[in-house]
Amino acid sequence: MRELLVMKNITKKFGDIYANKDINLIIREGEVHTLLGENGAGKSTLMNILIGLYQPTSGSIYYRGKKVKIDSPSKAMKLGIGMVHQHFMLVEAMTVFENIILGVTKDSSIFIKKDRIKKDILELASKYGLNVEIDKPITEISVGEQQRVEILKALYRGAELLILDEPTAALTDIEVEGLFRVIKKLISEKKSVVFISHKMREVLEISDRITILRMGHTIKTLDKNKTNAEELAALMIGKKMVSSKYKKVSKTKENIIALEHISFNKESKHNGIKDISLTVGKGEILGIAGVDGNGQSQLAQVVTGVITPHEGNIYLYGKKVAQFDPNDFINSNISHIPEDRNKMGLIGDMSVKENLILKSIEKSKFSLKKGLFLKKKIINQYSNEMKKKYDIRCSSIDQEVRNLSGGNQQKIVLARELEMEPELLVAVHPTRGLDIGATKYVHDKIISARDKGCGVILISADFDEILKLSDRIAVMFEGQIVGIYSGDNPPIDEISLAMAGKAE
């Protein structure tokens, strides 16, 4: 196979920090090449250089044997490089059609020749099996379809090299299968794909070759057939991973929380819950499995007092909850790791230490007169302790939280929530976007909280995570609980079917 793209000694500095250092990468024609690496390994930076959004500090790029300077995305597009970003670059106020033709100058006409262009796009779409509703606004189509629009957008611009940045992160299993079919089709048409992911199973399924990045360096490029998951994981995190297996416990009699026929917004299949009854006991993890957007967010908000259910009752420690108020729930020792740490879990512009004490600010430990005067010395001392205990990597406890990596941000949330010694922990997608090391850390912490007697509701779209941690597994589909299974040797096939809405 011929070489399509060569990146040679690419270095990119942000301030004093090297995001990429002497990176070498060769992409061949007609291959799926995976970039594998933890968060912050430099994958996204490297790809942003390739599509001209960032300029490398040094190094050179060759495309089809010729040295090129990619100083803007339009230059990359002219060369035939297209990218589907992890966070889609779609204008929500516009339709699918408008998004696809945005910025395209294929003919010289001033006006948009709608019918002709539409025909072209639909032909292209059917050639690669990219099913899209061309006249719908972006806001009205699913995430999977939005991704197909992104791919179509790149192909319509004549992309030969398609970069897919974490394309499976937000997809359901069925959508992932569809995506892989499209990728295979692209390869059969001699196009090349750069696939960015850290999901081992997918990487081994779809890639031809795999390049591992770590801390901004290229570690190795491997042939898929000559490697395995263990080797890849070891290269990726730089030390041998011990595949962790947690022991499962059976449910205790003592309930911490009990939900009775809870409904909220029950007409909605995706943003509501319908007639949910479940219990969580002391020292057990109840995993809520399900494809994203089947009411999990609403369930999490109900059990943390953020929203008031329209129907049904909740009993905390055997007592009926009269009023839904997050503050009351916090005071009843319920901790919450919210689904979106940037929006709900942390205040990005505030420092590490301020975020650490957010929920305990009124306690006499940190302040006098219920938060009127802060005990600065004690707060600093406590924050430094937490920094050490939870291995929060920051330059100081006064650093702004938004400048930290996702993993370290999540550690702050964990420290804050677990140090309150909760009796119930509601963890929603606790490891979303985290790398293997940070994920293992979070898992260990959740397990140790359970072992101390804390009840845990774990909501996650990552099925592996649910299987690994849960003592019992409840499956959510269209706002309802469609099955509850034991977490010890769970019937995986049956659960998968239930998640897809096909429970018997």
Binding site: F14, I51, L53, Y54, Q55, S72, P73, S74, M77, M83, H85, M89, L90, V91, E92, A93, M94, E98, I101, L102, G103, V104, T105, S109, I110, F111, I112, K153, R157
Partner: protein, 313 residues
């Protein structure tokens, strides 16, 4: 009193509405072009004032109101480039720099006027732009007088509405332009030059806002005095919000404000007993009222008012 509301009165009222709405319409379109590219420019009033001064000055010197309009356009661009450089290149807060223009430009205009004409109590007069009736159409009863007997600037202002509509909804450039106000990073990744388009937006905004100011001193009244703009820039700003960032909506909003302005002038003449200050408040009160009830921010471009940096992590 019965004769007051006859056909002539209504005709005059509507004619005046169209005339009064013109500067607001032009300047509101200026803001529309700016905000569609994600730049909230509250400095319209300042740009207008400076356009009014330079338009008047050139008109006075050359005796040609059209050269005055041209001068207004050019000076509008120049003033707006301060805003453009600070907000686009330096990523400064748009509201702050808009406000800076509002403080700086009128003061500069007043300064130049005083240097040129000295401090005197009599207002200097310049040539006023003549109306150019459109043949045949102006013979239509009532409508002919209301719509087809104006200065060319008025016709251009109203023609800009359908042109703007076509630009934004039917052309490639317009689609690309809108994307910048919605999601600049996506636009950039699609090969659209965001910086360039933002500067173009500021140039268009400067031209139109400058013309809007110059219109006041060359085609509406023939003098310049401090405060001649009288907050019309801010009314135009609210016309964009009320018009839901759409050219047709902006036109309706401008006509509404033009109508209240025309109405209050007539009420002043008719009811001599009422203090005129009270009646002069009507257009501003209606602006407040309209914004309070219809000023929904949601409808606007998503990235409106936010600075854009390509290499932001």
């Amino acid at each position: 009193m019965e004769t007051v509301f006859d056909i002539i009165f209504i005709q005059e009222l509507l004619l005046s509405t169209v005339r009064m709405a013109t500067p607001i319409l032009i300047v509101a379109l200026a803001e529309l072009y700016s905000e569609r590219a994600g730049l909230v420019n509250i400095g319209l009033d300042g740009i207008m004032t400076f356009g009014a001064l330079s338009g008047f000055l050139i008109c006075y010197i050359t005796g040609n109101p059209y050269l005055g309009i041209l001068a207004g356009a050019i000076s509008g661009i120049l003033i707006n480039m301060i805003y453009a450089f600070c907000t686009i290149h330096l990523g400064a807060e748009q509201i702050v720099y808009g406000m800076a223009i509002n403080i700086f430009a009128p003061a500069l205009a007043s300064f130049i006027y005083k240097i040129y004409f000295g401090i005197s109590s009599t207002l200097v007069q310049a040539t006023l732009m003549k109306t150019v009736p459109i043949p045949i159409l102006n013979k239509i009863p009532v409508l002919g007088v209301v719509f087809f007997n104006h200065t060319p600037i008025v016709y251009i202002a109203y023609l800009l509405v359908p042109l703007t509509y076509v630009f934004f909804s039917k052309t490639k450039l317009g689609l690309n332009y809108k994307a910048i106000g919605e999601f600049p990073k996506a636009a950039e990744s699609m090969g659209i030059n965001v910086m360039l388009n933002k500067y173009i937006a500021c140039i268009i905004c400067g031209i139109l806002a400058g013309i809007g100011g110059a219109y006041l001193t060359t085609a509406y009244i023939s003098t310049y005095s401090d405060g001649v703009v009288a907050g019309r820039g801010f009314i135009a700003l609210s016309a964009v919000i009320f018009g839901r960032w759409m050219p047709g909506g902006v036109l309706l909003a401008a006509l509404l404000f033009g109508f209240t302005d025309a109405l209050q002038l007539r009420l002043q003449v008719m009811s001599s007993g009422t203090p005129y200050q009270l009646l002069a408040m009507i257009p501003y009160l209606s602006t407040l009222f309209v914004l309070a009830f219809f000023g929904i921010k949601k409808a606007g471009p998503k990235a409106n008012g936010k600075p854009y940096f390509r290499e932001e992590r």
